[in-house]
Amino acid sequence: MTAGLLAAAYIAAFNVARTRLGVPENEGGRARRAVLAGGALLALGVVAALAAASGPLLRVLEITPETFRIAAGFAGVIAAAVVLVVPRPAAEPLPRHWRAALWPVAFPLLLGPEVLALAVATGSQEGVAATVGAAAGALVVLFVLGFLPRRPLPDRVLVWASRVLGAVLLLVALWLAVDGIRDV
C-alpha cells in the first residue's frame, strides 16, 4: 500500500465530511473543539492500539494478515454502501459536556467497523507508525473542517463530499480485498 493510498484509506474510512455533519456544534456553527479533539484523540488511540495489537490479535483469531485484508475489504465495501445510501449520519442524542467526545464523536461516528478493521489490516501490513500517521492525518483534516463554520460550508457540500469519500472507501476496500486474495 502506498503512503497516498493509506492516507486516502483513512480519510475515506473516517469519512471526515460525514463525521463533520454529525459533530456537536456551538452556537456559531463550528464544531465544539474540545469535544471534537477529545473524540479524535480517542479514536486515534483505539486505531493505534489495534494496529499495535494486530499481530497477536490475528494470531489468537488464527487469521493470516493477508486473509484479514479480505475481511477488512468486505467491511469497507459494506460501510461504503451505507455511506452512499445514507451520506448524512443519524442525529444521535447528545450527552452533556465532555461525554459527547465519547458518544457520538468517537463512537459511532469515527470508530465504525470499517475503521476498526482497517486499523488491524494496515497495522499488520504497513506497521504501527504508518497506520497512526495516516489516521492522524485524516483526523487533522477533520479537525480543520471542524473549525470552519457551517455557513460557508453548506450541508449540501458536506453531503456530496461524504458521498465522494464513500466512493473512495469503496475503491480502497475493493483494492484491499483483491490484494488480500492475490497475496501469498
Binding site: 483469531l61 488464527e62 486473509t67 468486505f74 459494506i78 442524542p93 486474495i181 501469498v184
Partner: protein, 391 residues
C-alpha cells in the same frame, strides 16, 4: 441514548460475527515435524505400491464407504504416479522403491509408438497425448536421478522430441497427436502445456547444451501471457506444473515476465491453501466453506508452493515471498499429515490396505490424490527440516 448505543454495539457485534463466520473463519494449520512428514510420505508411497496390479498399473480409485474399486484408468495419471514414486525414491532415499516404480514404467515402455523422429507412449484406449508423455519424460528423469542409470537416455530424448513436435511457434503445445493424419491436433490440455514445459526444463538438467531448456522458455511465456485467454479461463489457472517449470529453469531462466508469473502463481497457491485451512467440514463451516478440498487439489497447491519456495531461495528478487511461502507450505504439510488415513482408521474398513496411507475426498480416493500430496509433502520436507535446524 442507551438504546441507540445498544443498537450500534449490536450492529457492530453482528457485523464482526458475520465476517468471522463467512469471510475469515480460523485458518487451522496443525504443526508437524519433518519426521512426521517423512512418515506420511512413506505411508503414501506404501499405499501406491501395495495396491499395484501385476501388469504394472496402479489402483485407480477406491470408495471406502461402499468398498468398491474404480474400473477406470488414465494414462496421464499413470505417468504422474510413476513419476512421484521415483521422486519419492530420490527425496526419501528409498532406492528399493525403484523396482516398484520400474513396473509402472514398464507398462509405458511396452506401449511406445514411433512417429516422425520421435517416440511416445500410448495408453490403452487413449490417443497419443502430450501430458502423458511429458510426465513419462519426467518419470524417466526422476529415475535417472534416483539410479544414475542412463539406460533410457535415448527414450527420454525421443519422447522429448515428441513434445517438441507438439510445440507451436508461439510456445503453445497441442495436446494430441493424430496418427491418421500424422499431425498434431490443435487442442489444448488443461495441464498438459505446463507438464510439457516442465519436462523440457528437466531434460535440460539431464542433457545440458542440447537445447531442451531453450525450448521450454517460449512455452513458459505462453503459459504466463496467453494460455488463459486462449483457453477461455475466467481466472488465471493455478498451474503447479508451471511452478515446477519456473523452479527448474531457475534464476538463469527468469526475466520480468516469468518473475511476475512466479509471483502470481505464489498468490494463487497462497489463497488456495489459506482457504483450505479454513475448512472444517462440520457445522456452519460446512455451509460456508464446504468439505475439505480434494487431496489432489490441495496437493497441487502444495507442490506449486514448494517449487516456488525453491525458486525464491535461489532468486534474490523473489526472496520477499519466502516468509509467507514457508508459512503456507508448513500449513499444507500440517493439514495433509493430519488428514491422512491412519492404520487405526483403516482397520475400521473392509479392506484396510486400500485405506491406510491415502487421502480421501468424501470417502473416495483416486491415484492422483495420493500422487500430488506425496509429491507436495516430499517437497515441503526440506523446508521443515531447515526451519527445525534454524529453531
Amino acid at each position: 441514548m442507551a438504546r441507540r448505543l445498544l443498537l450500534h454495539l449490536t450492529l457492530l457485534g453482528l457485523g464482526f460475527a458475520g465476517l468471522r463466520l463467512a469471510v475469515v473463519p480460523a485458518e487451522v494449520c496443525p504443526v508437524v515435524s519433518a519426521v512426521q512428514v517423512s512418515h506420511a510420505a512413506d505411508e503414501a508411497a506404501a499405499w501406491i505400491v501395495r495396491n499395484m496390479r501385476d501388469d504394472g498399473r496402479y489402483l485407480y480409485g477406491y470408495d471406502r464407504d461402499v468398498d468398491e474399486t474404480s474400473a477406470q484408468y488414465n494414462g496421464t495419471r499413470h505417468a504422474g504416479v510413476t513419476m512421484s514414486l521415483y521422486q519419492y525414491a530420490v527425496a526419501a532415499g528409498r532406492p528399493e522403491v525403484v523396482a516398484d516404480a520400474d513396473r509402472g514404467l514398464a507398462f509405458m515402455l511396452e506401449r511406445l509408438t514411433v512417429g516422425p523422429g520421435w517416440q511416445a507412449w500410448q495408453p490403452p484406449g487413449e490417443g497419443i497425448q502430450l501430458g502423458a508423455n511429458a510426465l513419462f519424460v519426467a518419470a524417466l528423469v526422476m529415475r535417472r536421478d534416483a539410479t544414475g542409470d542412463p539406460a533410457y537416455d535415448d527414450v527420454m530424448r525421443a519422447a522429448g522430441r515428441f513434445l517438441l513436435a507438439q510445440q507451436q511457434p508461439d510456445g503453445r503445445m497441442y495436446a494430441l497427436w493424430d496418427e491418421a493424419t500424422g499431425e498434431a491436433v490443435p487442442v489444448s490440455g488443461k495441464f498438459a502445456t505446463g507438464e510439457a514445459a516442465w519436462a523440457l526444463a528437466l531434460l535440460e538438467g539431464e542433457f545440458p547444451g542440447e537445447g531442451w531448456g531453450r525450448a521450454a522458455l517460449p512455452t513458459l511465456d505462453y503459459l504466463a501471457l496467453h494460455r488463459d485467454r486462449d483457453e477461455g479461463n475466467l481466472t488465471r489457472m493455478p498451474d503447479h506444473w508451471a511452478a515446477y517449470s519456473l523452479a527448474e529453469v531457475g534464476p538463469a531462466g527468469l526475466d520480468g515476465v516469468r518473475r511476475a508469473y512466479a509471483r502470481q502463481l505464489a498468490g494463487y497457491f497462497g489463497i488456495r491453501l489459506r482457504f483450505e485451512a479454513q475448512r472444517r467440514g462440520t457445522g456452519i463451516n460446512l455451509w460456508l466453506r464446504w468439505v475439505p478440498g480434494t487431496p489432489a487439489g490441495v496437493g497441487t497447491a502444495g507442490e506449486g508452493m514448494a517449487a516456488l519456495w525453491r525458486l525464491a531461495r535461489a532468486e534474490p528478487s523473489l526472496a520477499d515471498l519466502l516468509p509467507n511461502v514457508e508459512e503456507r507450505l508448513a500449513c499444507f504439510a500440517g493439514m495433509m499429515v493430519s488428514r491422512q488415513a491412519t492404520a487405526a482408521e483403516a482397520a475400521g474398513y473392509p479392506r484396510p490396505g486400500l485405506v491406510q496411507g491415502a487421502w480421501f475426498y468424501r470417502g473416495y480416493v483416486q491415484m492422483d490424490d495420493v500422487q500430488h500430496v506425496l509429491s507436495g509433502l516430499l517437497a515441503a520436507r526440506p523446508m521443515l527440516e531447515q526451519r527445525e535446524v534454524a529453531g
